[in-house]
């Protein structure tokens, strides 16, 4: 029997790294094949080879048993391979139909001679989109403008885009990263429908639970090599994690009962605008006590970013009050917030958390460079900064050749460790951790989770913002769910049920009312 897609002995080296080392990977007809692995394990390289972005140094690719050479993404599409990227490749002011035909425009017959001025055949494409959408249960309105669509709908547009180009093999790169649990479940149903009608799906992810729930077959990569394949029936989360990391991993964070003390952070009726002057945070009130972790669950883009920025002085407060240990900090500058012993692990580590061109050493001192012992008067004492950086690199196991290496050349996990080391080794009364483990490997996640719990146990108040429900549930002592700028409900973590949180994240209240 031939495979839908078969790659054998794929090797690809980059200067200094062997990203793929004799990798074998085969997808059967009509199966959902999950490809699991940490960042840097070589998943992306393999997919980029299959999609024609890279040429392998050696190895062979077969489609339906026929050896092929895939020279470009265009070629991949011609051979029936479609890819849905993690970051959607859509032009937001255009309609669904326009996006789908982009690059493969249908022209109204008779106008072809006009070349660039020929008329686009919207009608024909829209008809085809409706057909596909009906056939595979992909609900999409062809005339809707993409920027008005929810993330889940945009993803369906991406899938239709691939199907429109006659893809038989779909590669979905981290498709659930931006979805609510319910939306993710919908996606799995769509995936089932697709394979039911003969398509094959490669599903790249790092979420173990989803893999077990949705895949027919699971392949795991580690350090450029294919570790092996298992059927979901023969695996559990621990086994998969062990295959990914190569050792036993603590999936559940080990933490003692919280012993909350006095209130550290009080937010009352907070209102914050986003960049487009829309009310992003609307009448949010919450309290975080010393020694507890309050998790803010919610799908990305429901005001969490703006909330964190307002709390840290990076975004002006439009209404309401923020109190830090009874002192009002609603209009404090970022520096005053820092000096009131607030630590902040920002959502976008490369934009806010680090200066990528600076060394590890300089980034370790990013917020404290002006304080003794790191500076005396105007002059920086680099020997003190060096010493501190060396100590932190060791203590937080930052893998870097040298403290003078630029932070931009480290892996994502190590970059995040630099931030965590910097933020948690100052005296901390309040820790605001926004998506602290996004895009990190299991080993780093484990480490950072442990550090956050340690901070709590040392008496810090922790506000954890995350779009990963698993993370919220395993770390938090109390969970607040944010939807469209409001906090719908705050629950004790021990009473919180996954399904209920998922519904709240989608704006559905307990009594079934939709907000």
């Amino acid at each position: 029997m031939s495979f839908a897609l078969e790659a054998s002995g794929i090797t690809k080296s980059f200067p200094g790294v062997r990203a793929n080392d004799h990798v074998n990977f085969a997808v059967e007809h009509g199966e959902i094949h999950a490809l699991l692995g940490e960042n840097g394990a070589g998943k992306s390289t393999l997919m980029n080879i299959l999609y024609g972005l890279y040429q392998p140094d050696s190895g062979e690719i077969k489609i339906d048993g026929q050896p092929v050479r895939i020279t470009s993404p265009h070629d991949a599409i011609d051979k029936g391979i479609g890819m849905v990227h993690q970051h959607f490749m859509l032009v937001s002011p255009l309609t669904v139909t326009e996006n789908i035909m982009l690059g493969q425009e249908s022209l109204v017959p008779g106008t072809q001679a006009l070349q660039q001025l020929a008329r686009l055949d919207h009608h024909k494409v829209a008809g085809r989109v409706r057909e596909l959408s009906k056939q595979y249960g992909l609900e999409v309105e062809p005339d809707a403008v993409v920027q008005d669509l929810a993330v889940g709908a945009q993803q369906r547009v991406e899938i239709i885009k691939a199907l429109y180009r006659n893809a038989n093999i779909l590669i979905l790169d981290e498709p659930t990263a931006v979805l609510t649990p319910q939306e993710a479940d919908e996606l799995f149903i769509i995936m089932r429908t697709l394979v039911g009608q003969g398509k094959s799906i490669v599903f790249i992810t790092h979420k173990l639970r989803e893999v077990l729930a949705s895949a027919d077959n699971i392949s795991v990569m580690r350090a450029g090599k294919m570790v092996g394949s298992v059927r979901p029936a023969d695996a559990d989360q621990n086994k998969l994690a062990e295959m990914m990391v190569g050792r036993n991993v603590l999936l559940q964070v080990d933490k003692a009962e919280a012993r909350p003390a006095g209130t550290v952070l009080t937010v009352k009726g907070l209102q914050v605008f986003d960049d487009r002057r829309h009310m992003a945070v609307n009448d949010v009130s919450l309290e975080v006590r010393a020694g507890e972790i309050v998790g803010i669950a919610g799908v990305q883009g429901n005001g969490q970013t703006e909330l964190a920025e307002a709390l840290t002085g990076l975004r002006p407060v439009a209404g309401g009050h923020i109190y830090m240990l009874e002192r009002e900090t609603s209009h404090a500058t970022p520096r005053r917030v820092i000096e009131s012993q607030t630590s902040h692990i920002p959502e976008d580590r490369q934009k806010h958390g680090l200066v990528l061109s600076f060394s590890v050493r300089d980034n370790m001192a990013l917020c404290t460079y002006y304080q003794p012992p790191f500076a005396q008067g105007l002059e920086i004492d680099f020997s003190a900064i060096d010493e501190r950086a060396r100590e932190l690199v060791e203590r937080y196991d930052v893998r870097t050749p040298d403290i003078m290496t630029s932070v931009g050349s480290l892996s994502g996990g190590n970059q995040q460790k630099v931030i965590v080391a910097r933020e948690l080794t100052r005296p901390v009364k309040l820790l605001i951790a926004n998506q602290p483990t996004r895009g990190l490997d299991v080993g780093s996640i484990e480490f950072i989770h442990q550090q956050i719990v340690n901070a709590r146990d040392n008496g810090a108040a922790v506000l954890l913002i995350s779009a990963e429900l698993d993370e919220i549930m395993s770390l938090s002592d109390r969970i607040a769910v944010m939807y469209k700028g409001r906090i719908l409900e705050t629950l004790e973590a021990k009473d919180a049920v996954r399904e209920q949180l998922g519904l709240l994240m989608a704006g559905v209240m307990k009594d079934g009312m939709h907000v």
Binding site: A223, I338, V355, L356, Y370, L378, E379, V398, M404, G443
Partner: protein, 457 residues
């Protein structure tokens, strides 16, 4: 994830040399390539190899070997150093200060005013006063666009360029109006007090005979020794041996005092007895020392101070700088002011160092400012690189005349070569292609200049 051992950097000369070569490789190759293309262009226009030889030989002789050739090269280098330092300070903060020419002009006007208005003061007071006036003038002229950028988002490329024209016209108005020397037939300011002049190197023996002047030199020397000794003692090798900060302090202050006293007592008679610079027509002046000091100062500011750390942070990633508690507004205004102060100093030093009439004439701007943007780029904003690159540009500027005379090749070929140098520096892919060098791994930019178009930061 790879297992990279956490190692400490070990010092080695070999590594230092390697790093140095990495640092200068691309600019050096770009310069060689530009001169090579220059050969082709001269060949195309003259069709004779001897012309190429004559041209480059003339350039070299004019820049270095003819009588006072090297001195004149240094004279041209001095304003280049100040102005490209000014551009570099802006670049490092992510600001493209194209207005150094205007700040230079304002600096020269302020200096001329202070040089005339406070006539009668001794040099020890008047000279620093004039330098301060020029620096402040330039600083204010640059801080204004900085303020506009920080507050309203007005892009500094536009506003500083516009400010240039305002500066030129303002200078013309002042020189032709309130500051004009009523007794002179030329349009120029009154003569600047000799006390406010920067001494030519040949003038030292005569000047030093005044005890106040000797005191000034002694103070500067003492200060220099203190700063140098302090830096040396702080460097790790000495610091390890001498733990006590108090002992270190008494050591470097003592050294400074000693040198100061020695200078004050011994320099006037010694210089009278023997002095290396005897040619009274040699225009090389003390501005050279100030320029080198300025380069060291800018290096210290950018890499050794909290302010420099902030400026570089703002230049490399303003979002992260804000996150770290740095005020972007303050940093932008300060950076522009420092940049403007350096440009203003360039104007000041030209007026009190080399101005032929001993005053500020109507037409003074000389295009140094535009060239210095290129110098800063060539030197990648490194203050010591700027010293070298300024020398190169000064030499080319100075050698051009003799080149034209020698070979009949237009001296504007120099501008062409300079432009090519910049082209090759900013498009390293060309240089790599010519020399078959493999691309270096992608580096994050030290400063991003493409941000901040529109909207306050």
């Amino acid at each position: 994830m790879s297992n990279i051992p956490v190692a400490r950097a070990n010092f080695s000369w070999r590594r230092l040399a390697g790093d140095f070569w990495q640092l200068i490789k691309m600019p050096a190759l770009a310069i060689i390539l530009a001169f090579a293309v220059g050969v082709v262009v001269i060949l195309l226009t003259s069709r004779s190899l001897t012309t190429v030889g004559e041209a480059y030989y003339g350039l070299l002789r004019g820049a270095l070997f003819k009588q006072r050739g090297f001195s004149e090269t240094l004279v041209a280098t001095i304003p280049y150093i100040f102005l490209s330092l000014a551009v570099a300070v802006g670049f490092k903060t992510g600001l493209f200060n194209i207005g150094v020419e205007g700040q230079y002009t304002i600096g020269s006007v302020c200096a001329a005013w202070a040089g005339v208005a406070f006539s009668g003061l001794p040099a020890i007071i008047h000279l620093p006063l004039v330098l301060l006036a020029g620096a402040l003038g330039g600083a204010a002229w640059a801080a204004l666009p900085g303020y506009l950028k920080a507050r309203t988002g007005a892009h500094e490329v536009i506003s500083t360029m516009m400010m240039n024209y305002v500066a030129f016209r303002l200078a013309e108005f002042l020189v032709d109006g309130p500051l004009r020397d009523p007794l002179s037939s030329g349009v120029q300011t009154s003569a600047i007090s000799p006390a406010a002049e920067l001494w030519k190197l040949s003038a030292y023996p005569a000047r030093l005979q005044d005890p106040l002047n000797a005191l000034m030199v002694a103070l500067v020397a003492a200060l220099l020794v203190i700063v140098l000794a302090r830096a040396l003692l702080k460097s790790s090798r000495f610091a390890a041996r001498m733990q006590s900060a108090a002992r270190r302090r008494s050591l470097y202050i003592g050294a400074g005092l000693l040198v100061g006293v020695l200078c004050f007592v011994a320099l006037p008679p010694l210089s009278k007895a023997w002095w290396p610079f005897t040619d009274p027509y040699d225009r090389l002046h003390s501005g050279l020392f100030l320029a080198v000091l300025a380069a060291v100062g800018v290096w210290w500011l950018l890499w050794k101070t909290t302010l420099g750390f902030e400026l570089r942070m703002v230049g490399a990633n303003p979002s992260a700088a804000r996150y770290a508690g740095v005020s972007i507004t303050r940093s932008i205004i300060l950076s522009m002011a420092i940049s403007g102060a350096l440009a203003g100093l360039a104007g000041t030093i030209e007026v009190i160092g080399v101005s032929i009439c001993g005053c500020l004439p109507l037409i003074f701007s000389s295009g140094y400012g535009w060239d210095s943007i290129g110098i800063a780029l060539l030197a990648r904003n490194n203050p010591f690189g700027i010293l070298a690159a300024s020398l190169l540009f000064g030499a080319m500027r100075n050698g051009a005349d003799l080149m034209e005379l020698n070979s009949g090749v237009s001296k504007y070929i120099i501008s062409l070569i300079q432009a090519l140098v910049l082209l090759f520096v900013s498009a390293p892919a060309i240089v790599r292609w010519v020399y078959r060098i493999k691309a270096a791994p992608k580096q994050e930019d030290d400063a991003k200049l493409t941000t901040g178009w529109g909207g306050p930061l």
